[in-house]
Amino acid sequence: MRSYEVVFISAPATTEDDITKLTSQLEHVVNDKGGKVTKIDNWGRRKLAYRIRKFDEGVYTLLYLESNGREISEIERRLRVTDFVIRYLTVRTDEDLKRAEKMKTKRKNLLTPRDNDDDFDMDDVIEEELADDDN
C-alpha cells in the first residue's frame, strides 16, 4: 500500500463550496479505484511566496491517500481541468516514511553510551548501515 500526498492551490476567490465539491469528487475517484483518503487538510487562504497567475494569495488543500497509485493520473487530470486550481503537486511518501521509521529503530539499537559523541555523526553510521542493507 503506497501513501501519497496531493496538495493543490485554488484561486483566492474560490468558494468553500466549490472546493468541497472538488474534494468529494476526488475522494470518489480514489475510493472507486480501491484506495482510501486518510485525511483532508485545509490550510485556508495563505500568502504565496511568488505570484501565480496574477494571484498573491491562494487556498491550500491537502489530500492524504493510501492506495495502489492507479488513480493518481485521474486525480491530476481533474485538477488540471478545474478552472480555479492554479497549481498542484503529488508526492509519494511511503518509501521516505518507511526509511524514517527504520532510522528511528536503528537509532535506538545502536546508541551506546560514549564519552566523546562528537567524534562522528551518528547519522552517518546509520546511513552506512542502511546502505549496506540495500546492497
Binding site: 521516505d96 521509521e101 551518528m122 552517518d124
Partner: protein, 92 residues
C-alpha cells in the same frame, strides 16, 4: 569517524592555504541529527527556511553542517516547497 585532519592542532580560521580544511570549524554534528529529524517534510516551512539564504538560495553543506544524505533530502524538499509557493525561488 575521526579524520586524519582532526589530529591537527589548528582550530583557528585564516589557516595557511595548504590546509584543505578551509573555513569550516572542527567537525560539528549536524543540526538535523541532533534534533533527530528523520523525515524532512516539504511542508515544514519553518524548518526549511533555516536552510535557505537571504536571497532564497539553498545553503551549501559546508555552512549548515548537514550530512550528504540530509542535504539531498533537504534540497528535494526545498524544491518541492518552491514548486507550491511555500518558499520563494529568488528574493532580491
Amino acid at each position: 569517524m575521526p579524520k586524519p585532519s582532526d589530529f591537527d592542532n589548528d582550530d583557528k580560521n585564516g589557516k595557511p592555504m595548504r590546509s584543505p580544511r578551509g573555513s569550516s570549524r572542527r567537525r560539528r554534528v549536524s543540526r538535523l541529527s541532533a534534533e533527530k529529524i528523520d523525515y524532512i517534510d516539504y511542508k515544514d516551512v519553518k524548518l526549511l527556511q533555516s536552510f535557505i539564504a537571504e536571497n532564497g538560495k539553498i545553503m551549501p553543506r559546508r555552512l549548515t553542517g548537514v550530512t550528504a544524505w540530509q542535504q539531498r533530502k533537504l534540497s528535494e524538499a526545498i524544491k518541492r516547497a518552491r514548486n507550491i509557493a511555500l518558499l520563494p525561488v529568488t528574493k532580491y
